[in-house]
């Protein structure tokens, strides 16, 4: 697939965080790794510059929070390694990337020109690698901070 567009390193990405994916721990609103759940192992994000830099537009529900990640930080998750059954590294190493994935005329989803995907190349076919990727994404997003805090009435 050829993408005419490209997500630049300096771009800001938004991720909606639903109820059940955050917790208050030691007085800090924490993002859990489940905030990056994705059955296809390609978590969705919105590109800030294509949604008017309005994080509220990324919310799926009014109670959701929104966190941000820099595209460069995501790409710097390097050396995603897959181990064989003996725990030995198996080549090739993964490269994490952010790619445009605009939604248009989808049967169920509303049009969203800002939509993008966090992907690994080659595709991650190993649960344990994806779990590590989610940990990393959650940590990066937490460092970059909440743009919109979720409704604390729904604190898990």
């Amino acid at each position: 697939m050829i993408f005419a567009d490209k997500v630049e390193d300096e771009e800001v990405l938004y991720r909606s965080v639903s109820v059940g994916c955050f917790v208050m721990s030691d007085g800090v609103l924490r993002l859990t790794s489940t905030a990056f759940n994705d059955p296809t192992r390609r978590p969705s994000v919105d590109r800030a510059k294509l949604c008017g830099a309005n994080p509220a537009s990324t919310r799926k529900r009014l109670t959701d929070g929104v966190v941000s990640l820099a595209a460069l930080s995501v790409r710097e998750i390097a050396n995603v390694v897959q181990n064989d059954k003996h725990g030995q590294p198996v080549l090739p190493y993964y490269q994490v990337d952010v790619i445009p994935d605009p939604v248009k005329d989808h049967a169920e989803l509303p049009d969203n020109p800002a939509h993008g995907l966090i992907v690994a190349c080659p595709d991650i076919d190993n649960d344990r690698v994806f779990k590590r990727l989610k940990e990393s994404l959650a940590r990066i997003a937490e460092t970059d901070g909440w743009l919109l805090e979720p409704s604390l009435a729904n604190l898990s």
Partner: protein, 163 residues
């Protein structure tokens, strides 16, 4: 019963009405008192995470709007057991207990997460297994470790988290 035939009633302790209403019957002499007290403390401390586990049973598919599966009832059952096992071992080793975050993965596994400073411990409970991930940075290869969770390894993981 043939055993009863060999019991000499004269050697049995005499029943004393007084013993059931005197100090012997007081709560302080209840041999199970400490067990009951320990049990009620454990129930109190684990009440919140257990309630969260019960709440997961009610979540539908796509509960997070990310397409995740409904939390697996067998994984929830397994998570109840692991929660108590981890708590028992942590307390027995005289470490401070931390309440976990309780959530679910896209595959319906139950996810416990604990934070302490820069360190984080995540436990995934499936229907018949459990895995852990230790995280101390964003680098997937150099700042994370994972493996199968074994009961014998809980204390070491908690020691690492608490260090």
């Amino acid at each position: 019963m043939t055993v009863a035939a060999h019991v000499d009633a004269r050697n049995l302790p005499a029943f004393q009405q007084a013993s059931s209403s005197t100090h012997l019957a007081q709560i302080v002499n209840d041999p199970y008192r400490m067990v009951k007290r320990h049990s009620s403390i454990v129930n109190l401390i684990l009440h919140v995470p257990r309630m969260k586990l019960y709440a997961l049973q009610k979540l539908p598919a796509n509960w997070d709007d990310a397409g995740s599966a409904r939390p697996d009832p067998l994984a929830i059952s397994n998570a109840f057991n692991w929660l108590e096992r981890v708590y028992d071992q942590v307390v027995a080793a005289q470490f401070e207990w931390l309440a976990p975050s309780v959530s679910a993965s896209e595959k319906g596994e139950i996810v416990f997460e604990w934070w302490r400073g820069d360190r984080k411990l995540t436990v995934y409970c499936g229907a018949d297994n459990a895995e852990f991930i230790q995280v101390w940075g964003v680098h997937i290869q150099n700042e994370m470790e994972d493996g199968q969770l074994e009961a014998s390894g809980i204390v070491n993981l908690w020691k690492w988290l608490s260090a």
